[in-house]
Amino acid sequence: MTRRKETPALQKDWKYLSRLTPARIALGRSGSGLLTAEVLKIAMAHAQARDAVHTPFDGEALAAKLAGLGLAAVCVATPATRRDVYLRRPDLGRRLDEASARAVRNLGQTGADLSIVIADGLSSTAIETNVVPLLEALLPQLRQMGLSLAPVAVAGGGRVALGDEIGGALEARLVLVLIGERPGLSSPDSLGAYLTFEPRIGRNDAERNCVSNIRPGGLGYSVAASKLAWLIEAALKRGLTGVQLKDQSAQDLVVAMRHGAISD
């Protein structure tokens, strides 16, 4: 009993350091192990991250919400809608299945300024939590710029490069892919936004710009929307996206790629 009481007290000696970093420092210990409360806290964080990956994506419900924002939407899918297939076969998540490809072709060559693609990626939680509030902040700015929008594609089992096929089929000048990022222990709901000018199959990651970590505890909606609006305007004006579009967001993408955080 005495020992159990003493051991947790150890952390207090440098607990004040923990305000300097989000890292899990000064946790104290039970012998060589973590304290019960810490083990359970980490288990909960992992459970939330796991659930974010595996919670089924409800595209129809999202499409209904988009209608509420005045956006026409079409639900599409890749051949990788089963989660175990999606995780094993990144290549399948980059292409539409046959029926969806037909459906997108039937929308016609819109020639719109911007096509928006929303894909579950690695966190359906991120889509569920963040897409509507982000669009609420972004749409007024897009309207102010007078941009024409193609119908929004809501995709199950999608990766970033799926936007290349959809945006290309719609003949949009620019595609914006909103996608659930790989969940971290402290960020199960992180949304990524990827912009690609003149989308077509075969574009690579160096040709994209990225705004990452969009979520209530990360990059807020209004800041994220402003960054995106700036990038969209600059991309359409200069006729390119990617590393040549000098902006901090380009650097963010390179960093995210190096860290394997993006679900390309």
């Binding site: 150890l10 350091l17 923990s18 300097l20 420092i25 946790l27 060589s32 076969r89 222990l185 199960p188």
Partner: protein, 460 residues
């Protein structure tokens, strides 16, 4: 040359050595993604049976990645030590496994053999080995390296203290360093993955580590894990760089996708050596690897990911590294799907690295989209420590808040020291005792009164 086996319900034919190696590999998602894995369990075992009969010499005459177009293959074959190879040159892969397991095959014999073994031979024999074989043989291999302390002595296991921070904030990084030192971590290296690409930020981190190590006279080394060319730039600017880091892979094309080749690695090593910062030795390189990186760069030449990984070790050993780290579960489930595949890969990598004579450690880790959890990490940690792993990673609470994945924690190394009795690098162990952080038994002291590291200015 084609290989055949009729031991099962049908005759299996394998196109060539490359095909045979891929089909003989224990199942993993990366080889399936590449379309080169065995199509059935029987085909997998039939391939192992064929492989067992292949002479080791075959790997010297049949290159899996073409000699003409790949500098890693040229390095492997041109630097092959025929004299060291002689004791096993008559063996088949299966006989080689039996030889490695024999009680009479000693640490000294394995050390002498290392330069005669090619990565393809190591990978081949590992495909015939069960997990216990991988552990037993790796445990017999001893590889010792030095910079400011001695790493790899039998009965020891070092820890890389990994104080990553989402914005590289110096005080935040220092807080994690202090935390790790207080748990007795950091003898392998204090090594950070910077979040930023900016050279200025990296210079600040190098200076921070130099200050901490100098101020407390810690017998260890630091590393800012950035591209080799950036390290060279930092060295040219006069910054205190201990170890030069680089991610490497097993083919020339994959290395090109990392922006490196043999020449630039040599340049990086020369730059680090020129500073003469090592007090006990001149192992100045820190390499990281991981199965699947060549496939993800479309540079695998149809070779299975484990063999390509072993080839990266041949590249590493040409530069006398202090540390080689296989970051086993970081790459994601499309390469290693679940805990079982990650555990197997970690043991294979460690075995191949040790057999080739490398100071190999393991970042025992997983991402949240892999079918794995901390229990799997506990299992792999316990197995690797039993196998004599050179070092592991220590991250606060096992949660890397910058790279967004889970590794092993400061606590995890305490667990394995308590269970298996593995010690730290001796110079570091002595320092911890001098500082009152551990007692003479190496156990952490209940230092409520004595906290020698805390009066740093980061206190306020």
């Amino acid at each position: 040359m084609a290989y055949r086996n009729s031991s099962g319900r049908q005759t299996w034919v394998f196109r060539d050595l490359k095909d045979l190696m891929a089909k003989a590999t224990p199942p993993r998602s990366g080889d399936m993604l590449a379309g080169i894995a065995a199509g059935s369990a029987e085909e997998n075992v039939a391939a192992k049976m064929c492989l067992a009969d292949v002479p080791l010499k075959a790997f010297l005459s049949e290159a899996l990645v073409p000699y003409e177009t790949d500098e890693v293959t040229r390095l492997i074959l041109d630097s092959h030590d025929a004299k060291a190879f002689a004791p096993v040159s008559h063996m088949t892969v299966g006989e080689f496994r039996d030889f490695l397991l024999g009680e009479e095959t000693s640490t000294e014999m394995l050390s002498a053999l290392a330069a005669g073994i090619t990565p393809e031979m190591a990978a081949a024999v590992s495909k015939l080995m069960r997990n216990q074989d991988l552990i037993l043989v790796a445990r017999k291999c001893v590889v010792v390296t030095r910079f400011r302390n001695t790493i790899g002595l039998p009965g020891t296991m070092a820890v890389r203290l990994q104080p990553n921070h989402p914005t590289d904030d110096a005080r935040g990084v220092a807080a994690s360093v202090v935390d790790g030192l207080m748990y007795g971590c950091g003898d392998a290296v204090i090594g950070i993955n910077p979040a930023s690409d900016s050279t200025a930020a990296m210079a600040e981190l190098a200076l921070l580590f130099d200050d901490i190590i100098g101020r407390f006279d810690i017998p260890t080394q630091s590393c800012v894990l950035t591209h080799v060319t950036t390290s060279i730039e930092l060295i040219e600017k006069g910054l205190p760089i201990d170890l030069v880091f680089q991610s490497i892979a097993g083919t020339e094309a994959a290395n090109r996708s990392f922006g490196i080749d043999l020449a630039v690695l040599a340049e990086g090593r020369e730059a680090a050596l020129s500073l003469k910062r090592g007090t006990l030795g001149d192992n100045v390189m820190y390499f990281e690897t991981g199965q699947g990186s060549a496939l993800s760069a479309s540079a695998h030449h149809g070779v299975d990911q484990q063999t390509i990984e072993a080839r990266a070790y041949a590249l590493a050993r040409a530069f006398d590294p202090l540390l080689v780290n296989t970051v086993v579960g970081f790459i994601g489930p499309e390469y290693l799907y679940d805990g079982k595949q990650i555990i197997r890969a970690g043991l294979e990598d460690h075995f191949c690295g040790k057999l080739l004579g490398l100071p190999i450690g393991c970042d025992i880790c997983y991402t949240n989209h892999a079918e794995a959890d901390q229990d799997d990490m506990d299992t792999l940690l316990t197995l690797l420590a039993a196998a004599g792993v050179t070092f592991i990673i220590g991250v606060p609470g096992a949660d890397d808040v910058m790279l967004n994945y889970q590794s092993t924690s400061f606590h995890d190394q305490l667990y394995i020291r308590e269970v298996l009795g593995v010690k730290r690098a001796p110079e570091f162990e002595a320092w911890l005792q001098r500082m009152g952080i551990t007692g003479h038994d190496g156990q952490l002291r209940p230092h409520s009164a004595l906290l020698p590291l805390l009066p740093m200015e980061l206190a306020e």
